[in-house]
């Protein structure tokens, strides 16, 4: 208790408040610009934190991270160009809402859901970090492989018109994720002798290319042909359509809570990350809705489900980070670096050795969430105004940001990759291949591969290894049940069509 009060006192100082507020603003703005992203802001900020006290330093980085999850929704909603894979599902309903003239309402929904998901997930972190960490440690290779399998099935089942095309896209994603170095033998795979490819295709190049730049190509080409479209009016002049009030919040609250649960759980398991959480949150909301056909056409619940889920990851990601020292994603890895710089060794002993510091970090997270809530009230309206600019001005700026962003974050070679993947993203949109399953395949592919290979080696040809692991068995069973239900539903849909 003493440590708790001391820690909170450490957190609530004016310096910390200023730095965390600055972090949240930076995160929101960087992430709102497509192709830049909060990750780059964190990368740039880490060296500056050398000079700050540990709590201030981590507060600043956590602030950027938190602001980033909200900012990421902005370009997804306004321009259909998610800046990072985790905001992809936000476009499904966010962009249709924009086109209906409800951009501001979509942004406010994202704001409310994001902050709620984040706050609840923080609460879970504060209360049960230690016990949840023990669960995470029980997750061995086989368990992880089974969890990824479930994620593949759920996302695969969510995807629309043609299951075959969805599978082809997913397989392409997995195939491209194999480029680089074999995890076991360190031999080169599919790298064609290009040194830059030895480390694999950069996730930023693939993600921004397929998700953001591919969409911009499509918009630019249609724009020129004149068949599409002025960017929809933000509806700033039409408050009735864009009102987001208490009633709306009550309407989406069940969706938010469910997605928060999903996001928190996924964040607590190291490695899965916010992209998987976002898609799973969206899929689950769509599945449990009474009128799932509204999803994808501008349903407010679609935005809420995605944003709550991907933001909930941010808080609970700190569970494996603090208690096991395992970063759940790249942003968390950079924050882990800041811990090491400041002489903090995350791990099981952190909670007992440095309780005061842990509580101070929790305090900083609370401040970050409050800042996100407060600033969002103003910045969302500001961002919505971007839409009033003509498309001819916006698109070139976005392309410029994407290309320069990738050169800063990675290298010139990645910029060429980016162009290539933008072309791929454009083709996939034209030919109606799901870029969602593609991205999920690409993001989760390496993890699935490594865990399956580890499991096979550990099992050593003995089926008892599988049967001894109830958690893994449960997840594999769940995947099978999901496949069975999906195929039954498709068979029924097929019958209906035939009639």
């Amino acid at each position: 208790m003493h440590d708790l009060l001391l820690g909170l006192a450490d957190a609530f100082t004016l310096t910390n408040l200023l730095y965390i507020a600055l972090g949240v603003l930076i995160g929101q703005i960087f992430a709102a610009a497509p192709g830049v992203g909060a990750l780059m802001a964190i990368t740039i900020a880490v060296p500056f934190t050398f000079y700050l006290s540990p709590v201030t330093a981590i507060g600043l980085l956590v602030g950027i991270n938190k602001g980033g999850t909200l900012g990421g929704a902005v370009s997804a909603i306004l321009m259909n160009t998610p800046g990072s894979p985790e905001a992809t599902a936000t476009t499904f309903d966010g962009y249709p809402m924009s086109r209906k003239g409800q951009a501001l309402k979509a942004l406010r929904t994202a704001h409310a859901s994001s902050v709620t998901g984040d706050a609840l997930s923080d609460l879970v972190l504060f209360l049960v970090a230690a016990p949840l960490a023990l669960v995470a440690m029980r997750m061995g290779p086989l368990e992880m492989a089974a969890v990824v399998l479930v994620a593949f099935v759920v996302v695969g089942g969510m995807v629309g018109n043609s299951v075959l095309k969805g599978l082809i896209a997913a397989a392409l994603g997995v195939l491209l994720s194999l480029v680089g170095t074999d995890p076991e033998t360190a031999g080169e795979r599919l790298s064609f002798g290009i040194p830059e490819l030895m480390d694999g295709l950069a996730i930023s190049a693939v993600g921004i290319g397929v998700l953001a730049l591919g969409e911009i190509f499509r918009q630019a080409i249609y724009h020129q042909r004149g068949s599409l479209h002025r960017l929809p009016d933000a509806g700033l002049g039409n408050p009735a359509q864009n009102h987001f009030g208490w009633r709306d919040y009550r309407h989406i609250a069940p969706t938010i809570f469910k997605s928060t649960g999903i996001g928190t759980l996924i964040g607590a398991i190291p490695g899965l990350g916010s992209t998987a959480a976002a898609f799973l949150g969206y899929a689950s909301a769509k599945r449990s809705a009474k009128n799932p056909e509204n999803f994808g056409k501008g349903d407010i619940r679609g935005v809420a489900a995605t944003e709550a889920a991907n933001s909930a990851v941010v808080g609970s990601n700190f569970i494996p980070l603090l208690s096991l020292g395992i970063p759940g994603n790249v942003a968390a890895a950079l924050i882990l670096g800041a811990f090491v710089i400041h002489g903090i060794t995350p791990g099981p002993q952190l909670f007992t050795d440095q309780a005061r510091l842990v509580y101070a970090i929790f305090g900083a997270m609370v401040i970050g969430t409050l800042c996100n809530l407060f600033f969002g009230l103003f910045t969302m309206r500001l961002f919505a105004k971007i839409i009033r600019l003509p498309l001819q001005l916006i698109l070139p700026c976005v392309v410029l940001l994407c290309v320069t962003g990738i050169i800063v974050a990675s290298n010139l070679f990645s910029a060429w990759l980016l162009i290539g993947f933008a072309a791929l993203g454009f083709l996939m949109r034209m030919l109606d291949f799901s870029f969602v399953t593609f991205i999920i395949g690409f993001v989760l592919g390496p993890m699935f591969e490594l865990n399956v290979r580890q499991s096979v080696l550990l099992a050593d040809g003995n089926i008892g290894y599988l049967l001894d692991r109830p958690i893994a068995c449960a997840f594999i069973l769940l995947a099978l049940v999901l496949i069975w239900r999906l195929s039954r539903r498709q068979a029924q849909a097929g019958k209906r069509l035939a009639v």
Binding site: T185, A186, I341, T345, L457
Partner: protein
């Protein structure tokens, strides 16, 4: 007449011009040496961002900036225990503006155990930052607590071993062959994953480059043997692999290398600046106190000799084990 004059004039100037150009070229290349560095340097780090090794490299980079008065841009090129970084480094210009940081095994051992596009002699070696604390470790709950018990247990049940690179794999292949144990080698991505897999009971033993030291105090991890040539500072009770009848240990360092053929003057200045940066109090403190790695800083000559002799050992071992 006039035009003929100018033509003549031009022609007579031509050799002069050429000489002048040659001189200038000579001067400017000499200048390139003397006013190095006149643009930012690139430091390629063979580890993913966020870990201890990356942090060490970034601290050295910061000190190097103040030594040289030019920004040092850190770029993480993780993968394959440093081989991805070393491959990129090989193809970089040897102009003193690109240097690489990895563990020595990327340079002296990897070329002999994995098919690579570079070998040990493609680089110049500058200096070390700290010594690794390589150890064979097990969970605090493992059913064995020393080497002999581990061997006995392994003969009965076999052992699952977590490995991060082809080098760390080779060591245990040797142990397996010699002791007649079945050792299953499980590829892992990094130190923290290994620690958690041990504590979570998913594997039996593993290689650690020093990260285990944070887990010794509360008994979550125990050291079975030192894989350095000598016993480890933090586990003086446990024998070194060389005491257990094995010919060589795997003493290693975090170190800096550049592509071969850098101008001598730049080589001298860069290595002097790197040595000062690696010995600076902030780097020493991070290495010694926070990470538990002795801050041993070698001269280029010492390091080069160390790497070349280790490479010779690996080459011989590889030749012996080849069928």
């Amino acid at each position: 007449m006039l035009s003929a004059l100018t033509r003549l004039k031009d022609r007579s100037r031509l050799p002069l011009l050429m000489i002048w150009l040659l001189v200038m070229a000579g001067v400017s290349s000499a200048q390139a040496d003397t006013d190095w560095p006149n643009k930012p340097l690139n430091l390629l780090v063979g580890f993913s961002p966020g870990g201890g090794a990356d942090t060490l490299a970034r601290l050295v980079a910061r000190e190097l900036e103040s030594e040289l008065g030019q920004p040092v841009i850190v770029r993480n090129i993780a993968g394959g225990g440093g081989i991805v970084m070393a491959t990129s480094l090989k193809f970089a210009a040897a102009d003193g503006y690109t240097l690489g940081m990895a563990a020595n095994s990327a340079f002296d051992g990897m070329p002999w155990v994995a098919p690579l596009r570079y070998d040990t002699y493609d680089f110049d070696y500058l200096t070390t930052i700290s010594q690794l604390q390589n150890a064979l470790v097990a969970s605090g709950n493992a059913p064995f607590s020393n080497w002999d018990e581990m061997i006995a247990y392994g003969r009965q049940h076999g052992l699952n071993y977590g490995s991060v690179s082809p080098i760390t794999r080779e060591v245990l292949n040797m142990v397996a062959e010699r002791e007649g144990i079945r050792i299953r080698i499980i590829p892992m991505r990094g130190g923290m994953e290994i620690m958690n897999s041990l504590i979570g009971g998913h594997i039996d033993i593993a290689w650690s480059a020093g990260i285990h030291q944070a887990f010794l105090r509360n008994g979550k991890i125990r050291v079975i043997a030192s894989l350095n040539d000598e016993r480890l500072r933090t586990s003086p009770q446990q024998p070194a692999i060389t005491e257990l009848g094995y010919p060589m240990g795997y003493t290693g360092y975090f170190m800096f290398a550049v592509p071969k053929g850098m101008p001598a003057q730049i080589h001298e200045r860069l290595s002097a600046a790197l040595i000062r940066a690696s010995q600076s109090p902030t780097v020493a403190q991070l290495a010694e106190q926070r990470m538990g790695f002795p801050n041993i800083v070698m001269s280029p000559e010492q390091l080069t000799e160390f790497i070349h002799s280790a490479a010779e050992d690996y080459r011989r071992a590889a030749a012996d084990s080849a069928p």
